[in-house]
Chain length 135, copies 2
């Protein structure tokens, strides 16, 4: 298990998102990664993911900060890992007061040939994607 | 998206588990797959996973049946998919009456060179693995 390494990778990615350094953010994604924008709506590939992050930053009025709570890393076959994690979002509300919320996220990473962990699937909604779905 | 294909793969795997046909069950796993037995306890590799399934069958007195509820398949990069799914377990309780429970599971699959989806990470507890964990 290299839980500590993947934790530091995710911390660095979240710092880059909070800093709106989207060039740095994109370094953490595989070319054909998928990002869940909201349950039922995904974007695919680095250009679309980058655009989504700029829209998210606008949506939160450039006040979004992302942190990490509990984290479990399950390394499976083929240099792949499933990360289950509390993702902590804080941002300024419309009245200017600081708001925070937490999600139980699920991320799939794979180690590339150079030993870097890249995100293949970014689903910050975890199993909540099932909540609004009919059978 | 090939949600329908992966759904049928999972249905076939769950039928094999319910039938205690563990040779068939093992066909759905990658050699170096990991199975979460309970939060904090994993087994790794086909021989250990097969042994775990025989222990699970014993534990439920050979009455366990597994079904599927809602399912979302997120295909990411590199022929990898994250499955978020309601897994429905039913079994005979100690008093002989039928019991059932449902879990929100997370599974990671990858398509091999022959186009077969193999399970890399089997975590039927989903984000509940975080529940009992300290930071």
């Amino acid at each position: 298990m290299s839980a500590h390494l993947l934790r530091s990778v995710i911390e660095a990615a979240d710092r880059a998102i909070s800093a709106e350094d989207f060039d740095a953010v994109m370094e953490f994604y595989a070319e054909d990664a998928v990002l869940v924008l909201r349950p039922g709506q995904e974007v695919r590939g680095k250009p679309a993911i980058r655009k989504a992050f700029t829209m998210i930053a606008d949506y939160f009025g450039h006040t979004l900060s992302i942190g990490q709570g509990k984290m479990t890393v399950l390394e499976g076959g083929g240099d792949t890992a499933l990360v289950l994690m509390e993702t902590l979002l804080s941002f300024d509300g419309e009245d200017g007061s600081r708001r925070s919320l937490s999600r139980r996220a699920t991320y799939v990473f794979r180690k590339d040939g150079r030993g870097r962990w890249l995100c293949l699937i970014d689903n910050s909604y975890g199993t909540d994607v099932l909540a609004d779905q009919t059978l």
